[in-house]
C-alpha cells in the first residue's frame, strides 16, 4: 500500500456504500419517473438513458399542480401545516432554550436530562401517547367536558387540521430545542453585559445582541426540522387518517406503497425534492461553512 492511497482507502468502503445505496437509488427515482409502465403487469419500467425518457408521469403531476387541482391543494396544505408547526415549535422552543442557556443554574442538569428524554422515547410511542389522550373517551375530552368547555366529546382524531399541526409540533420540537440551546449557550456573556453597560434595555439587548447572534442557529435548526416535516406521512396517518388533511408525504406513500402508480409517485418525489433543494442547500452550505470555521479556529 503506497502512502498516497493510505488515507483514501479509509474512506473507500463508506464512499462506495453511499454511491451504491444513496446516489444510484436517487437516479433510480428519476429513471422511474421518466420511465414507462408495463401494460400487462402495470409495473414501472425504469428508463436509464435520458435520451429515451418519457414525460407522461411528470406531466400528470405538473397538471395536478395547477392552482385548484388535486396536487396543488395538497402542496399548499403541506406548506401551511409545516409553516404553522415551525412557528409553534419556535414559540415554544426558543424560550425554553433561552431559559436553559441563560438562567437555569441549579436546575440545569435536571432540565438537560429531561430535555434529552424525548430523544430516547421513540416518535411512535410519543404519538401513541397522544392518541390515547385524544380518543373520544380520552383524558383531554373528559377534562374539557368536566370543565364545561365542551358539551359532547370532540373528535380530535377525525381529520382535524389543528390536531395534525399540534402533533407535528409535539413530535418535532425536541429536535429544535437542543441545537438552539447549543447556539444560545455559546453566546459570550460579556457581550450581553456590554450591551447592558452601553445603556440597552434588556429587551433592546435581546433584540440587538442575542437575536442577531442566534439568527444562523435559528435558521439551521428550523431547516433541520422542516425538511423531515415535509416528508412526514405517519403523523398525519396516526392523528387524522383523513384525505382532508393529506400532505405531500401521504400522496407519495399512497402512490408508491399503496397503488400501482409508482411513476406518478416517483415524479412527486422529484417535485418535492426540487422544492426542498433551497432548504437543503442552505443547510449544506451552513454545515460546510461551520466545519471550515472550526478547522480554521483550531489551526
Amino acid at each position: 500500500m503506497t502512502r498516497r492511497w493510505f488515507w483514501p482507502s479509509f474512506a473507500l468502503p463508506g464512499a462506495a456504500w453511499l454511491i451504491l445505496l444513496f446516489l444510484v437509488p436517487t437516479y433510480a427515482v428519476v429513471a422511474v419517473a421518466f420511465g414507462t409502465v408495463d401494460p400487462i403487469f402495470s409495473q414501472p419500467v425504469p428508463v436509464w438513458n435520458p435520451l429515451q425518457w418519457q414525460f407522461g408521469g411528470m406531466r400528470a403531476v405538473l397538471d395536478g399542480l395547477e392552482p385548484g387541482h388535486a396536487f396543488w391543494i395538497v402542496f399548499v396544505r403541506t406548506f401551511a401545516y409545516v409553516a404553522l408547526s415551525l412557528a409553534g415549535c419556535l414559540l415554544i422552543g426558543y424560550p425554553v432554550a433561552y431559559y436553559l442557556a441563560r438562567y437555569a443554574r441549579r436546575s440545569r442538569g435536571l432540565l438537560l436530562v429531561l430535555l434529552v428524554v424525548p430523544f430516547w422515547v421513540s416518535y411512535m410511542m410519543r404519538m401513541l401517547a397522544w392518541i390515547g389522550l385524544l380518543l373520544p373517551d380520552g383524558l383531554v375530552n373528559r377534562v374539557l367536558l368536566d370543565l364545561g368547555i365542551l358539551s359532547q366529546p370532540y373528535g380530535w382524531l377525525d381529520g382535524q387540521a389543528s390536531s395534525v399541526v399540534f402533533a407535528l409540533i409535539y413530535g418535532y420540537v425536541p429536535y429544535l430545542i437542543l441545537p438552539l440551546y447549543a447556539v444560545l449557550d455559546r453566546i459570550d456573556r460579556s457581550v450581553l453585559e456590554a450591551g447592558r453597560d452601553l445603556g440597552g434595555s434588556p429587551i433592546s439587548t435581546f433584540l440587538h445582541v442575542t437575536l442577531p447572534l442566534s439568527k444562523n442557529g435559528i435558521l439551521a435548526a428550523s431547516v433541520l426540522i422542516a425538511l423531515p416535516m415535509f416528508g412526514d406521512y405517519y403523523t398525519n396517518d396516526l392523528i387524522s387518517n383523513s384525505p382532508k388533511t393529506s400532505m405531500i408525504g401521504n400522496q407519495i406513500n399512497l402512490f408508491v406503497q399503496g397503488g400501482t402508480q409508482r411513476t406518478v409517485g416517483a415524479s412527486l418525489v422529484i417535485v418535492l425534492s426540487l422544492l426542498l433543494a433551497v432548504l437543503m442547500s442552505y443547510y449544506l452550505w451552513a454545515t460546510v461553512r461551520a466545519s471550515a470555521e472550526t478547522r480554521e479556529s483550531l489551526l
Binding site: L21, A28, W120, L128, I131, G132, L135, P202, L238, Y283
Partner: protein, 293 residues
C-alpha cells in the same frame, strides 16, 4: 405590575415567566408518555379509560399479552436485531469515512464530503422510495431484514461521520506525526494513537446509531417484506388507531425501557473506561451535542 417591571429591569434576576414556560414544556413533553406507560397496566381493554391495575397485558393474558403474543415478541426482536446489525456495519464505515475525509487532501474528498451530507437533509420518504425502487427494479435484493439493514445503515453512516469528524478536527494531526517521527508505521500510528483518541466519539456513534435504528419508521417500513419483519414502530403505526389492547402500550414501554437502560449502561461503561484511560478527554455527551450545527 411593579414586580413585572423589576424582573425586566434586573438582567441577572430569575425570569419567572421563562422558568414557568420551561417547566410547563417539560411536563407537556414527558407526562403523556408516562400516562401511556401507565395504561399498559390497565385492567381492561381500553387505552383511554382507567379500569384498575393489572399485569394482564404484560404476562397475564394467555393470548394477547406481550409475553404470549408471538407477533408482539417478534416485533421487539426484529427492532433489536436491526439495531445490532446497523451498529455493527454503520459505525466502522462511518469511522473510516470520517478519518479518510479529514486526512485525505485529494480531488475526490470534496464530492464525497457533499455526498455524505446529503442523507442528513433528505426527507426519509425520499430515501425510502428510492431504495424501494432500486432494490426491486435494479439490484433485485429481496425486501426483508437484509434490505432493512442496508437502508438503515445508509442513513446512519453520516451521523457517525459527523460525530467522529468533530473529534478528529479537535485532535489535529500532531499526535500521529509524533508517533511517525518516533518510528511507527502509518498503520501503527493509526492503531496505537489515533484510534484510542477517537474512542469517545466512536462510542457516541454506537449510541446514536442504536437510537436512530430503534426509532426509525419510514425506511424500515419501505424495506419490510411481511409481518415477520415488522418492527415496534411499524407495529404501533399499524395498530394505534384500531381497536387494540393496552398490550400495544406495553410493547412500546418495553422499547422505552430497553433504550433508556442501554443508554444509562453505555454511559456507565463509558465513564468507567474513561477513568482507566486518562489520555482521552472530552465526553460522549459532548460528542452527541456536537451533532447539532
Amino acid at each position: 405590575m411593579r414586580r413585572v417591571r423589576d424582573w425586566f429591569a434586573n438582567p441577572w434576576g430569575q425570569p419567572r415567566l421563562l422558568a414557568a414556560v420551561t417547566w410547563l414544556y417539560m411536563v407537556w413533553a414527558i407526562v403523556p408518555v408516562g400516562i401511556a406507560i401507565l395504561f399498559s397496566f390497565n385492567n381492561g381493554r381500553s387505552r383511554s379509560v382507567w379500569q384498575g391495575f393489572s399485569t394482564r397485558w404484560w404476562w397475564g393474558d394467555p393470548n394477547n399479552s406481550v409475553l404470549h403474543d408471538p407477533s408482539l415478541r417478534s416485533a421487539i426482536e426484529q427492532s433489536l436485531r436491526l439495531a445490532g446489525l446497523d451498529m455493527l456495519i454503520a459505525v466502522p464505515l462511518g469511522v473510516g469515512l470520517a478519518i479518510g475525509l479529514t486526512r485525505w487532501r485529494g480531488y475526490g474528498a470534496r464530492p464525497v464530503n457533499y455526498l455524505m451530507l446529503f442523507p442528513l437533509v433528505t426527507p426519509e420518504i425520499v430515501m425510502g422510495v428510492s431504495l424501494l425502487l432500486v432494490f426491486t427494479l435494479l439490484y433485485s435484493i429481496p425486501l426483508g431484514t437484509e434490505a432493512q439493514t442496508l437502508g438503515q445503515v445508509t442513513f446512519s453512516i453520516s451521523y457517525v461521520v459527523i460525530i467522529v469528524r468533530g473529534r478528529l478536527l479537535s485532535i489535529g494531526p500532531e499526535y500521529e506525526e509524533a508517533a511517525r517521527d518516533l518510528g511507527a508505521s502509518p498503520l501503527g500510528a493509526f492503531r496505537l494513537v489515533l484510534l484510542p483518541l477517537l474512542w469517545p466519539a466512536i462510542f457516541a456513534g454506537f449510541i446514536v446509531v442504536f437510537a436512530l435504528s430503534i426509532d426509525d419508521f419510514v425506511v424500515t417500513q419501505y424495506m419490510s417484506a411481511s409481518q415477520s419483519t415488522e418492527t415496534v414502530p411499524m407495529l404501533i403505526y399499524g395498530a394505534a388507531r384500531g381497536a387494540t389492547t393496552p398490550a400495544l402500550n406495553a410493547v412500546a414501554t418495553v422499547m422505552v425501557v430497553v433504550t433508556l437502560v442501554s443508554v444509562a449502561l453505555a454511559y456507565l461503561v463509558y465513564r468507567w473506561s474513561a477513568r482507566s484511560r486518562p489520555a482521552t478527554s472530552g465526553s460522549a455527551i459532548n460528542e452527541i451535542a456536537a451533532l447539532e450545527v
